[in-house]
Symmetry: C2
Subunit: 342 residues, 2 copies
Amino acid sequence: MVMTDTQKKTIYDIAKRAGASPSTVSAALNGTWKKRRIAQATAERIIEIAREHGYSANLQARALRTSRSGLVALLMPEYNRFFSNIAQTFSQEVRARNQCPVIISTGRDPDEERSTVADLTSWSIDAIFFVGTVAPDDLSHQCRAAGIPHVFVDQPCAIAPSVVTDSRTGARILTREIIASMTKRGRSFGDDPRETVYFVGGDRTLPSTKNRVDGFSEEMYAQVGQISAKQILASTYDLEAATRTITELYAQLGGLPAGLFINSDSVFEGTLRFLATLPEHELSACSFGCFDYEPFGQLLRFPVHMMRQRHKMLVQRAFALLENETPPVIEYVQPELYRAAD
Amino acid sequence: MVMTDTQKKTIYDIAKRAGASPSTVSAALNGTWKKRRIAQATAERIIEIAREHGYSANLQARALRTSRSGLVALLMPEYNRFFSNIAQTFSQEVRARNQCPVIISTGRDPDEERSTVADLTSWSIDAIFFVGTVAPDDLSHQCRAAGIPHVFVDQPCAIAPSVVTDSRTGARILTREIIASMTKRGRSFGDDPRETVYFVGGDRTLPSTKNRVDGFSEEMYAQVGQISAKQILASTYDLEAATRTITELYAQLGGLPAGLFINSDSVFEGTLRFLATLPEHELSACSFGCFDYEPFGQLLRFPVHMMRQRHKMLVQRAFALLENETPPVIEYVQPELYRAAD
DNA sequence: ACTGGTTGCACAATCGGTTGTGCAAGTGCG
DNA sequence: CGCACTTGCACAACCGATTGTGCAACCAGT
């Protein structure tokens, strides 16, 4: 490798070295030389020279001209376990397509989301993946106005292609598992408000929580024949709030209920803060289910059933939707049950 | 907001609407109108028109002209808990500076790292943060050749500014805590190979593990007066390997040792896979320390002391080093001890 | 030798900003 | 009124690629 200049090489430099014109160089390096009727020998010579000089194209210039940047963005709320997994697969998939992943967290702030999308459109981004955004419709309009292909993951949007976990079915299955675990522990549903399952955490105004609540309710009703609004304690994903919620529930019931449906990783962590203070026998009398997969959840002093969202599948399906330019559809991906040894 | 065209607006469009020239528009929108002696009234009129038309600059064009992209990149190996935290703060810091964070995971692959940096230089990236990279020196050379400011986080580089956790001191403190916990459990160091602390996981060829091993060894020597190479089981960060390592150690010793120094989150998870299979009394007889902070670690059936790396501080110091254009120095950040209730 | 068709490439416009420079109109002063 | 100086802005040259178009040179056929 000749390190003559540390300066950036342009096609003009290469053209000079090769005794060719910039357009010829461009064609050679882009593989379009055949279409442009450049002699193979010339193309090869140019490619060789470019290699020697360590040429790499100025991507701004290319993007400016072609208005395609080769950037693909992922917007997500924060870096928790689930979203990090999504980010990881997203990264791999994008790079496998020879594009550059741009991952941005917006902290569940709608304004931040809007302004980020505005920024990204200024970058002539090729596509945007939205994960767990707050206001999908607005964002979709924004993208549509800028002509940017986009997909929603884990949060459905009525006016754009979306891929989401089938929360309702997942919640039914998880609820069934919790109930099975309860009966295995010899507990049955009765008039005592402790003798049932409680749903903790999440935000009912968001579709995913709403669907989980629905699934939970349906299964409860199917199996027990009744379900009370008091069993649903879902107002926020916040970790601290989850700790308070379970603490209050415990105080109110005078002990743990027979079963707990824990909505999401962060709620799990918050709940555990309180649970960790309880004696062994109280914990082993209660059946736990968590709608999210947390490896450490397998390793607690009591069994926890978990619903694992298939992040790889979610992302891959999202790419498929994008690439086929699908009309607005919502595609569902089934989560997997991790069944703890009871 | 007037949504006349969904097409992109340029300064030329705005210029026409405002009856001004493109250069005037540019100056107005960039706030350089004072330097360019544009009348305040004109500038304000232009700004207003731009707002009305929802103008936003084409960043490729700007970057092409100025050769500054406003992009700041973070390269990291993968999205585990520690790196995700880093990514999160990085994101916030970059956006606070009105720039755009680009986060890319390279899966600990040196070739991937090289090619990613090459890509990034083609984007005239403004700066690169490297976290936990495999071959720092190569990357630093690459950046230097392209004239890109860069910083290493969590992995020192001899020829570029670096910010790393003070692993040696951290390891000494954690080791001290483990030993204190041991004596509290009535165990003392003896000839039985079980009656001591073992260091599990990590990669000794990497500086961070090496420093932790050093700190561990020093403290052991200081307190016990001896340390054997057999106590150090550090060959990889791999999760599965960690499970094997602890399983074998258990078999070899005929039980758990008196203390375990667990190197990193992933090793913790791997180790726990095995530990979770053991009965209560064996676990409570052993003292655990983990060099990484994992919230769920507080919630296990046995106490685990943890060293929390201060990711926020790491990232902020890294920005400071960049912004002050410091010569190659290695700056150390002390980790914090999380002391479990024994 | 002249025509028509191909081959191989160079020219120049263009993407949308930034920025050095120049020039007219206005102001102040003697 | 004339001159120097300031104010307010427009012009045009970039940045480095892509791409439509044009034009020599060569070839084959007549």
